[in-house]
Symmetry: C2
Subunit: 318 residues, 2 copies
């Protein structure tokens, strides 16, 4: 780089979008220089409020995020948006690339939108997410909306680093819905039934309510809320914002704040460690070329997979 990390951090803290974009790209590309800048930014973070928006494809997360941006901007808040896109293993391109609706905010300097694709088999959805959140936080974003697809482990991690987690669902997804609900009930602070004009919305609401009542009490004492929306017509979104603010006040309690911080930092530390180590493994193997060579050795039968893995590890670790 040749750039002073202190200088770079200063520009980001002052809200320089180009400096922030450059850093985020380099975080994504695992460039070694970024950690010095992240260290400089660290004392300037911890102020942004992160709202997770999770749900299956097709439930209307992007539309909801779009309307939320509009409402928060009306309150003069600075907004960051991080969209985590699953990536195609063949092309390396993002699946949910263009988000046409959200693009209308791209000319608003108070809104910073960033898509994170996960690439290749060394990736993981949560890879650089927390670092990107730290950068937006340091830039002075008041609210960061974190949009993710699915119900895998990566989404669970994302839910754990968000201050408020919204699970977005739609009526009419079939009979297995009971099974889904049983799992996500524990990770959602707010349940959004979007496209609530559809048949089955009331039944869905009753079912979630029933399962919440039957389920174990949450450790933190919060009672999850259910909100029905029709985001495309802006219906119910103001109510949703009120519920988000209610949860935010709840989280302000010092004891709860500490609990949350411990949980979130734990995940962030582990994620960062895994990420750093992954980079070092790739260095040790010799990236693509070395990886192909190792695989060819295994195919030829000269060594088995497990012994090869051990060999690489022993070279890497004390």
């Amino acid at each position: 780089m040749g750039v002073n990390p202190k200088e770079w951090a200063k520009r980001i803290i002052e809200g320089d979008i180009r400096a922030a974009s450059r850093l985020m790209r380099d975080i994504d590309d695992r460039m070694p220089w970024v950690s010095e800048v992240l260290k400089e930014l660290y004392p300037h973070t911890g102020r942004a409020y992160v709202i997770g928006v999770t749900g299956s494809p097709g439930v209307g997360k992007s539309t909801l995020v779009d309307v939320l941006i509009e409402i928060f901007r009306g309150k003069k808040l600075e907004i960051g948006v991080v969209v985590i896109d699953p990536t195609s293993p063949f092309t390396g391109g993002a699946i949910l690339g263009d988000r046409i609706r959200m693009q209308r905010h791209s000319t608003d300097s108070g809104v910073f939108i960033r898509s994170l694709a996960t690439r290749g088999s060394m990736g993981g959805l949560s890879r650089s997410t927390s670092d990107i959140l730290r950068v937006m936080d340091a830039m002075g974003k008041d609210i960061i909306l974190l949009e993710t697809v699915g119900v895998g482990q990566d989404e669970v991690d994302v839910v754990n680093i968000a201050h408020t987690s919204m699970i977005v669902m739609i009526p009419g997804l079939g009979d297995d819905i009971q099974a889904i609900k049983a799992g996500i009930l524990e990770i959602g602070d707010i349940f959004v039934i979007n496209k609530c004009e559809r048949e089955g919305a009331e039944r869905m609401e009753r079912e979630i309510m029933m399962m919440l009542e039957l389920g174990a009490r949450r450790e933190d004492g919060w009672t999850p809320k259910i909100v029905k929306t029709e985001a495309i017509k802006r219906k119910g979104v103001k109510e949703l914002v009120e519920v988000i603010e209610e949860h935010r006040s709840f989280q302000e309690d010092p004891e709860r704040k500490k609990m949350f911080l411990q949980k979130a930092l734990r995940i962030e530390l582990i994620t960062h460690l895994k990420d750093q180590i992954t980079t070092r493994i790739l260095d040790a193997i010799g990236h693509e070329e070395g990886l192909s060579r190792a695989v060819d050795e295994i195919i030829s039968g000269r060594i088995d997979l497990y012994s090869k893995s051990e060999e690489i590890l022993n070279r890497l670790m004390c």
Copy 2:
């Protein structure tokens, strides 16, 4: 353990279910003794045919898998089933725990069913999956059905280690379906439109077909097939099996076989390395207790997240 790895491997190769179950549990618990047994099993693997069954919750994957088991058993094939369940971060229990329909096969000694839950933030869906597949392979299973939820990176990895990848969908999931399709088109060998009695099945079929025509040609030359099923009534499943067999014959080509093996082993090697390293990180930090101590240090402000992460790494690596 006190058990000879060679002895243990021998019992598994002879089909001893208790020996295999014990090993799988210990793989899941990351017990160190397992790698010696896996090394012994390795030369006895590479024969099983792995079929990936991926799709959102609610599309009827389990029902489909259940009917597939029935058909393959009718052909006197030995079957393994691996179900990957996303886990609740609070209770550690599997979300989609009981699969009532599939349980009717549990008394059939030709069917071995194993649920893999992902636990805690150090996990990853693909964690021990490939090792479990190796064990079933060594046991002599002819076909292994690998069921996963979602469209995240972990599922993409799973798709890459399956010989044939089925993507299961249902009609009527809303307007974002275009976006989903654009991504999964590249990873599916077979597209199953389940619950095809629903409105919109024909339209869905036409849309997928159109996108397949518009999309880039696949590197391996396979033209993905579309099959409509109503698994709960066994409709279309025989046709599905025929398409699976067609894809299997296609994959038999020596050049393609080699390409596939290179791709799959690459992922398996990396997954195994990451898994081993994760275990060592936890050892180095001092597991739960040490992790809490590290987080408290960060919260107190004595050290920032990134410097702490560096400190741990330097202790661990040469």
